[in-house]
Symmetry: C2
DNA sequence: AAAATAATGTGTTTATTTTACACATTAAAA
DNA sequence: TTTTAATGTGTAAAATAAACACATTATTTT
């Protein structure tokens, strides 16, 4: 019980200067951002990996990351990494989790903030000029450098959950897509099969798909209709409670 | 497009030493943990706040937090703060989000990792000996120091969502509770009213409540039956997909 | 040109889940 | 003993989800 009161900072009001001393003291830590960049290509969910630049992990793949600069917002750092690696600057990006084990980095204490990014591979395809960058099938990701396997898996689980409750999957598709594309995307991410009729019914009922009155081109079968997702309409709707279930 | 290849670290394999230089370089950052500690008392959801120890924010309330030590896991730091402030060391604790705006702390760059903690106020009650600590009704939390209002609100939203999908609410209740207690808890957290019969039906159908064959004591009305939550059984069950809905 | 192929596009029926709703029971209090 | 205020339970209706089959269309093959 003594611990409640002993050493309680609230009992001594501190000047800004006193705090500054602490903040600039010896317990500062390197902070990095790691991006788990997902893409969707040939009906498979992919993740963009880079060969580790660290001798210890030579040959192993790792996530795209970098240290956060002293005067850089962590979101900005994530955007910077994406921009540097993919050339894209208008991408879906969301923070997932922070990994702060003391020993996670061999070079010393580096706490890393994991971000999940979803990009349209078709759009991005032209920009990968770097042999050290590669799109990996998510099913075959293993043995990443550092603790990146754990980070990747956390982000993949996050995506699987998130995609069922929020319309972020559309960031992986071209602006115009067929319902078959959309279903393939969900099936790939969730690693499951769905009934085509019920899937369509579900999305039509949500009423966020805009029929743009165009058809697929250059497909070796009857072309399907193309749709856009109505992000504006979605942004305006207020969500309802789903209910207790676990 | 030049940005894709220019300055790409993967093109130069680095020694551990080279990385160490970077990691120990000038861009290290102070890292803190802030705990949003929820409690449930008199059928209201509460949050434990402390008076800011910073002159600039004198008189304002703030979350319980501290700097993470150079060789301290961030989870350990969160547990340490809880232990120091509440005396409790066996509490529910989960990371929620990391806040990394450059200007969020007046004393310099401090990135903070927010944790949500749920504790049993009855158990904890005896241990608050500190006038600077206070349980606030969540409805009346406003004008916190730093960016703590934003952090608090993010954690509250997180809790509202999380409690519908995971059995973490039980950490706010005594080990033995009545179904009325449980419903009051959900109603307080979600700020809504529920049908008593449907609520019971829902929880009985989940089949995680253990009827311990005891009744409430010292209540001024017909006592209700007491239950425990079967955490073991819950841990063993494998979750099913919920389905697409947004 | 006709037939075969392989995909798109649609509707109904059933089962399950959720919601709405009312009364008997029990212990405490009056 | 009566009153009161809560606990405890069941059913019917509505909404949602799941299972399921066939006609249509464009392409490809014959």
């Amino acid at each position: 019980m003594a611990s409640v009161t002993n050493g309680n900072p609230a009992t001594n009001i501190k000047s800004l200067q006193a705090i500054q001393t602490e903040v600039q003291g010896s317990n500062r830590i390197a902070l990095s951002v790691d991006c788990v960049i997902f893409g969707f290509d040939e009906n498979k969910l992919k993740v963009l990996l880079i060969r580790s630049d660290l001798k210890k992990y030579q040959g192993l793949w790792s996530l795209l990351g970098d240290l956060v600069a002293a005067k850089e917002d962590i979101h900005d750092a994530a955007y910077r990494i994406l921009k540097e690696r993919t050339g894209l600057d208008d991408v879906y990006l969301e923070q997932v989790h922070t990994f702060g084990s003391v020993t996670r980095h061999p070079a010393g204490r580096v706490v890393t903030v994991a971000y999940c990014s979803l990009i349209n591979v078709q759009h991005h395809k032209l920009k990968i000029l770097d042999n050290e960058l590669h799109w990996h099938d998510v099913q075959n990701v293993a043995g990443l450098a550092f603790d990146h396997q754990e980070i990747f898996e956390a982000c993949y689980r996050w995506l699987q959950k998130r995609i069922q409750e929020h319309p972020l999957g559309f960031n992986l598709l071209p602006k115009k897509f067929s319902l078959r594309d959309l279903q393939n995307l969900y099936e790939a991410i969730l690693d499951t099969k769905m009934d085509r009729r019920n899937f369509r019914k579900k999305f039509f009922a949500m009423d966020f798909l805009i029929d743009i009155d165009e058809m697929e081109q250059d497909v070796p079968h009857r072309p399907g209709k193309l749709y856009k997702f109505n992000f504006d309409k979605y942004a305006k709707k207020k969500k309802k409670w789903v209910g207790i279930d676990f």
